[in-house]
Symmetry: C2
Subunit: 174 residues, 2 copies
């Protein structure tokens, strides 16, 4: 039997960990955004990424109804916007423009880009895999946008703390 | 058509990003370890995590033959060990003990724990999902171990640079 306290302690050692936002379309035809810590690149050719979304989350409904998302890397200056999106549910309210993120139209999908982020990836869901209490939505990246004016990305520092990080280089090869 | 240069620029904005190691068993009955950047927690109940492993990689063969792995979070002092594991293939040589990681027996799986890491998660593969040029191996976490004496985790800083990071707290809630 797995010791839950031990697992919690192990996961705590992940921090600081880069965070993401998934922007989806609600069935009302409006955008919604949730902070995500559980996501990864999956493939180079074709370009794929995966996000794990809780089955009870409003964004899960959105992705099932409208299988597209924008995966955004928020900047360290967007911590307040991130907290807003993480502490309000799109079931109860429209998060835009209240959350503070400004948007721009995407080129290939309906969910919009988030301005001021380090990067935005436009994705179409090509598979949904069962993952316990989450679903793994795999997205094919149809278009991408980087903002070279944005500062470094935002990290979760554990608990409800968000921040940036500064590098301490240890090894450089090649 | 996705612009590859634009996607590369977008992925560059991920760094610094926490890195992991997957320890597997070769068909020779020896341990092997590869650095991983593509992995995520997937589920709380049951406790699941996922790793994306290139289909041509030696570790892919190992996982197909012996569907167990230890997911380790290396510490910022283990950059040299990490570089060794990333620049040598288990197809050609035994990485242990040459890589410099010391090991200890796991409690539930055959691949060993890596000493000095921030944490080790013992996993059994419960699903393998297609992911383009990678396979997503989903592991159920059977046991976990955290080392409170280990310093902060190791990050890839982009290219072949590895290092630690220091937090810059921006938001604290609750």
């Amino acid at each position: 039997m797995l010791k839950e306290a031990a697992l919690k302690e192990a996961w705590q050692r992940k921090y600081p960990e880069g965070v993401w936002l998934a922007v989806t379309m609600t069935q009302r035809g409006t955008p919604n955004a949730i902070p995500l810590g559980w996501d990864m690149p999956v493939s180079g050719k074709p370009p794929l990424c995966a996000i794990a979304v809780g089955k009870t989350r409003f964004s899960h409904e959105c992705l099932k109804a409208n299988p597209e998302f924008v995966l955004a890397i928020p900047s360290e200056n967007q911590h307040a916007e991130m907290l807003y999106c993480g502490s309000h549910s799109g079931r109860d309210e429209e998060k835009f423009p209240a959350c503070g993120f400004a948007t721009a139209p995407s080129t290939k999908v309906r969910p919009p880009l988030l301005l001021g982020c380090c990067a935005n990836l436009e994705c179409k869901v090509v598979a949904a895999y069962d993952g316990g209490d989450h679903t793994i939505f795999m997205g094919e990246i149809l278009a991408s946008h980087a903002d070279s004016d944005a500062p470094g990305r935002l990290y979760t520092l554990g608990g409800n703390r968000y921040g940036g990080v500064r590098e301490v280089v240890k090894t450089q090869k090649g």
